[in-house]
């Protein structure tokens, strides 16, 4: 197949750039997940604890989620004063999107915890903070982790968009293909690497989830 030899040739010539793009891609995709995960826990807690917060926070989340990523990458510099080519714009935009999704899943997860279990914990003498970290949070994890998986996969895919404004990532393989007159090899390499990265990240989260929530695997639970 001529196509595969084209792919091989492209990789032989450009493997250094491709590798650099891959590493940069991983940073840009996963840093926002980590930041938003840390931020989503207190926010999700607040949404469940203080009912009046629920509506404004979830509405704001869904509005943020509605904004096209390219538009947000380009509008952020005007708001926070960064340069238009600064990768920070991408990190901030993706953090906002991730947070928008994770706040909702964290709140859903915490709300899904069986109140009888919480009451049993209280009855046994747990103080609120300890109860939250050792009973409520672990039981909410399956739902929260499901949100984390979606966010991670979405981020890996979304980072590619930043190539349109000249930021280095696997997306540059797509724009490169375009510049070469819709030359397929770099586009396919970009697609394959991006999907593999998403699958790998997803599998790692699933593995971690299995380790931290062993009870969810036994019995009928998902």
């Amino acid at each position: 197949m001529e196509f595969f030899s084209d792919v091989r040739t492209y990789l032989e010539i450009n493997h250094e750039t491709v590798l650099e793009s891959l590493v940069q891609h991983i940073w840009l995709a996963l840093l926002p997940v980590a930041i938003s995960f840390v931020l989503a826990l207190p926010l999700g807690w607040a949404v469940v604890r203080y009912g009046w917060l629920k509506h404004p926070i979830l509405t704001l989340s869904s509005v943020i989620y509605t904004i096209p990523s390219l538009a947000l990458f380009l509008a952020l510099p005007a708001i926070i004063g960064t340069s238009i080519l600064d990768p920070l714009n991408v990190v901030i935009a993706l953090t906002l999107y991730s947070l928008a999704l994770l706040v909702r899943t964290t709140a859903d997860g915490l709300a899904s915890v069986d109140q009888q279990v919480v009451e049993a914990a209280t009855a046994m003498g747990y103080k609120p903070a300890r109860r939250w970290f050792t009973v409520e949070l672990p039981l909410a994890l399956p739902v929260i982790m499901a949100g984390l998986r979606i966010t991670t996969v979405a981020n890996v895919s979304m980072v590619t968009v930043s190539a349109l404004i000249g930021i280095q990532s696997l997306g540059q393989l797509f724009t490169r293909g375009f510049q070469l007159g819709f030359y397929a090899p770099p586009i396919v390499i970009g697609l394959v690497l991006s999907v593999l990265l998403a699958l790998l990240a997803d599998s790692i989260i699933v593995l971690v989830q299995r380790l931290v929530t062993p009870w969810a695997r036994v019995g009928g639970a998902r």
Binding site: S62, L70, L72, L101
Partner: protein, 265 residues
Amino acid sequence: MNDGILSFLLDATNWQPGNNDGFVNRTIEHLGYSATALVIAFVVAFPLGLLIGHTNRGAFLAINLGNAGRALPTLGVVMLVLAIVGVGLTPVTVALVVLAIPPILTTTYAGMRAVSGATVDAARGVGMKEWQIVFQVELPNAWPIVFGGLRNAALQVVSTATLAAYVGLGGLGRYLFDGLALRDYPRVVAGAIVLAVLAVVVDLVFSLVQRLVVSPGVDGRASRGPRRGSNAPAALTASEDVPDVADDAPTPGGVGMDKAPRKSL
């Protein structure tokens, strides 16, 4: 720079309907590309989703398509379609259709499957024919989830239609890519703002349509609002139990791997 953005946004010539490069014309172009792709995707994916959801045959297709759709980068898919089909309005539309099919198909399927088995059993038991079960019972109860998919597909298509300008066509993407090429950042940001507003407005329109289409009995409105006839005694007999009215309705189309929204371009 912000003054430049504001003056660009407020410049009356940019809002004249006759101006080819004005916001009105670009928005119409943008909506044109989006609507065409969305309608085609709907015509293909929706009936298929109903069929798979009702019969549960071919479920692997709906599920895998949804998962693959989430992992595949939109930009790469569009570029690949253009590399295969060629450049022009038709290839761009094809690419947008390809993007819009998975969310519509997957959520239509998921919505149909989410309808309670007891409800479908009852529908069959009272003597509905299969098509009556689909359109009179399953679909009305699946709408909240199906609308989640439609809104998601619409957002993706509206976002991605920006790329039409990248390959030389019109639409709001023109402000972004022309502006980047000319280093005219006010133009870029102004375009980004109009695009963002358009996306929010489109989502709002869909949510209004959803409110009109979806029965209050299935989207949680019925348990929240003031009860009609609540002055009347609950029942003639004593000791009737009281309905537990959830403070907040479950969020339809909330999180669940198969129904989660997908974010793209």
